[in-house]
Amino acid sequence: MSDHDKTSLDRHTLRNMLNNITMNAELIKLQVQQDVPTPQLMASVEKILQECKHCAHYLNQNQG
């Protein structure tokens, strides 16, 4: 696998993380519109935060 290929592998993983963040943000939008209880909202927020941390960790690990 070339270096160029490895960079693209990162893009696939990062795209998945980004999609998960997007979906949870969309979920929160809907949850707010429908007045769902706060604990459910917080669970969705927590998932976004976790995914952001994974993302940062992944970028740190694959630097340079």
Partner: protein, 442 residues
């Protein structure tokens, strides 16, 4: 929803539920096949590349079990759309990532509107049954009466008479809030029946990697339909009897008793005489399951329904394929003269085959010379995927076409296909090995 990205499916499933739809998630081709065997769906959201195969394999299973479901592929790239459309046909939709709530809402609204249009074309009873003959009118009365009670129903009738549709009709007429959960007892391996019916706890047996909710619990507040119930081994029937008697189940490997509240509908193609003389069912369980037995008439006994049924099937295929064929009097006369030993299912297949055989520029449906023989085997699948290609070939074609579209860039192709680069290399190596083997053997 068939996708192996748990983070994505978890959030998307919650969105779908907040939009007032119910959803089942499968992470692999195997899981999806199991779901399709047990339930029918209005819409299937499908990832293209899955850990144990491709979305096309799910598509094949879908065509086998539930031809009318709408299919929407989930993909990250517009370019993949055209390639998928060329092999999956023009009727599929696409959800492009990143997906927002409005896209999901719009897709579901379209599917619901389409289903309403479809039901408006043919007069149906309880949303699923077609026919106005005296025997069907009597059946509708029975369905109305039994739906108003909580009684368990045993539906008897020859193969192809529509036992599952009658079960759905009872479920629809009951107005209950829970789901309709269907299982084919003849298709579940003997050693998995208890786990399927009652669920299991994590670690209950080798391979039980997570807790599994069984059919009884999934049907909570709704209807559990046990097809081919007489194929369940006699020695396993006492477990079912106990659940029916007590309204409580215990998951395999668990100790807690769980109250279950669902109506149990069951079906068999065994005759009353066979049930009594050959002991397919224990007597005690028969009386629990058959509080209200219903016997479905063979199609031969309600020939006056053949034109209505044929028209409803033709309407369905016309809608799916964008055609406008009609039935003329000669065709109707031939349909009414045939015996239909395979009942309504065989009639549907005959119309389906005729629909495929009819030239595109024709106005009138052309029936095959021999109505019966082509349907002796019920495994033929008339799909866009069946133009002489195997699923492996379709998947291979998709990957090669994507590589062509990216000028051979594997990273770009992997990204377009929504798979890791490693998976792409693995598949390409696999194709190379197959080609080498073919060369050696050739």
């Amino acid at each position: 929803m068939v996708d192996d990205d748990a983070g994505f499916t978890d959030a998307t499933a919650q969105i779908i539920e907040l939009l007032q739809h119910s959803v089942t998630v499968a992470g692999t081709v195997a899981d999806a096949r199991q779901c399709l065997e047990q339930n029918t769906y209005d819409l299937v959201l499908l990832d293209i590349m899955l850990p144990d195969g491709s979305g096309f394999e799910v598509l094949e299973a879908l065509y086998r079990h539930n031809r009318s479901a709408h299919i929407a592929f989930i993909t990250g790239h517009v370019a993949v759309k055209n390639i998928v459309r060329s092999v999956a046909g023009p009727e599929v939709s696409f959800l492009l990532k990143p997906i927002d709530v409005d896209k999901i809402r719009s897709l579901f609204n379209r599917v619901v509107a389409s289903a309403e249009d479809n039901s408006a074309v043919t007069q149906t009873h309880f949303g699923v049954l077609v026919g106005e003959s005296a025997s069907m009118q009597a059946l509708y009365t029975m369905i109305e009466r039994v739906a108003a009670s909580n009684a368990n129903v045993l539906i008897q009738g020859q193969s192809g008479t529509g036992k599952e549709l009658v079960a759905r009709a009872i479920h629809n007429a009951s107005g209950c809030d829970g789901a309709f959960v269907a299982a084919n007892c003849g298709a579940i391996p003997t050693d998995l029946i208890a786990s399927e019916l009652f669920g299991h706890e994590k670690g209950a047996f080798t391979g039980a990697n997570a807790r599994k909710i069984g059919l009884f619990e999934r049907a909570q507040g709704g209807t559990l339909f046990l097809d081919e119930v007489t194929e369940m081994p006699l020695d396993l029937q006492p477990n079912l009897l106990r659940a029916l008697e007590t309204g409580r189940i215990t998951r395999v490997g668990g100790s807690e008793e769980i109250a279950v509240n669902c109506r149990v509908l069951s079906a068999t193609n065994r005759t009353r005489d066979e049930l009594a003389s050959k002991q397919y069912l224990r007597e005690d369980i028969y009386f629990r399951l058959a509080v209200f037995p219903i016997e479905l008439p063979p199609l031969q006994n309600r020939k006056e329904d053949i034109p209505l049924l044929a028209q409803s099937f033709l309407d369905e295929f016309n809608r799916e394929q964008g055609t406008g064929y009609r039935l003329d009097n000669d065709a109707l006369a031939r349909l009414e003269c045939y015996r239909w030993p395979g009942n309504v299912r065989e009639l549907r297949h005959a119309i389906q085959r005729a629909h495929i055989l009819t030239p595109p520029d024709a106005e009138v449906l052309v029936l095959p010379d021999d109505l019966g023989s082509p349907f002796a085997s019920e495994t033929k699948q008339p799909t866009a995927l069946q133009a002489g290609q195997t699923i492996e070939e379709v998947e291979r074609q998709l990957i090669l076409e994507t590589l062509k579209a990216t000028d051979g860039s594997k990273p770009e192709a992997a990204e377009m296909l929504g798979i890791s680069l490693k998976t792409l290399y693995n598949r390409l190596n696999q194709y190379q090995q197959t080609a080498d083997t073919n060369l050696e053997s050739g």
